[in-house]
Symmetry: C2
Subunit: 186 residues, 2 copies
Amino acid sequence: MALSRAAITGAGLEILDTYGLGDLSMRRVADTLGVQAGALYYHVPNKQSLLAALADEVLDAVDVPEAGLPLEEWLVAWASALRAALLARRDGAELVASSLALGLGGIDPTVPAVDRLAEAGVAMPGPTARALLHLVLGQAVTEQTQSQMHALGVLTSFDARRAEQDFACGVGIFVDGVSSRAPVAR
Amino acid sequence: MALSRAAITGAGLEILDTYGLGDLSMRRVADTLGVQAGALYYHVPNKQSLLAALADEVLDAVDVPEAGLPLEEWLVAWASALRAALLARRDGAELVASSLALGLGGIDPTVPAVDRLAEAGVAMPGPTARALLHLVLGQAVTEQTQSQMHALGVLTSFDARRAEQDFACGVGIFVDGVSSRAPVAR
DNA sequence: ACCTGAACACCGTTCAAGT
DNA sequence: ACCTGAACACCGTTCAAGT
């Protein structure tokens, strides 16, 4: 079977799940595919574009809530779906965070939220959606990193409940803030 | 002058400002100090602890608002001070973000905010402060990365006003949410 | 067109040996 | 105690040469 962009992405995902982002090297991807490292560059311009493709894969798995839900519930559901997708893959949150910061990746995860906010008549839907994204992303990165360090025995105590509480609290406050500014009374 | 932890941290800050986080290597720090790379390990256990020390330096520069301010104003002022400190140094936001995620670093930037929130009687001051931290941090990382990519000519358009608007909007909404839950009416 | 082999210019970290 | 010199086990990326 010939090498291809899809095969490289697939091997990347496999390595990501098995060894984590820190051990995902171009050389290891090449090894997995039984090929020399240089061969990858015939299909992929560089490592960052590979990482962007992997981040897109994570973001593709976000289960966007149905449009019928009331704004507050929709926002909480969207934040939960985003968080779930980020946590579903090893180092998913960190991968997406760096890919988004660099502006790479073909998927803008805020699009559905911007639409829903605009539909509800909320002012500044873009900045609002981006703020909620950053809140969820930052929390997920911290949670995932600490949970992995706990698994490695580096960190002695990791409280999954606290992480969930942090998430619920942060999103709840933010959504309340959106509500207090929304043109429609609840 | 003999090598020391302080000298290493100083050289690290210099390299950070001049070349950025991506080019901050132990070997370069050693070169700057006119010493072999291995010598650093007599004073610093590893690279991550050096990065944590640099992150502490960034967080030390946060100008905590005076306690007399009303809660809402205090939170906005704190978020602004945090953002200013992160943006003051090259790659400051990314440095602090990764250091915080790893749980390294001697400084917990949320401490003043937790105190102020607790004093105001807000429920769950810890999760609330952490949520606001993540919001500010995520926005700052994105802003700093994009501004640097713009300076390098990689990104054609970078709107500093949009970044500021994103920040003001996100923090504003969040603080409104805190307000709507606070026990004291405004 | 697609891949190999080999190189270039780096990394973080360790450690015997010197002073 | 503190540093050098040299090594170990890696990196991302490039590119002539082969098929």
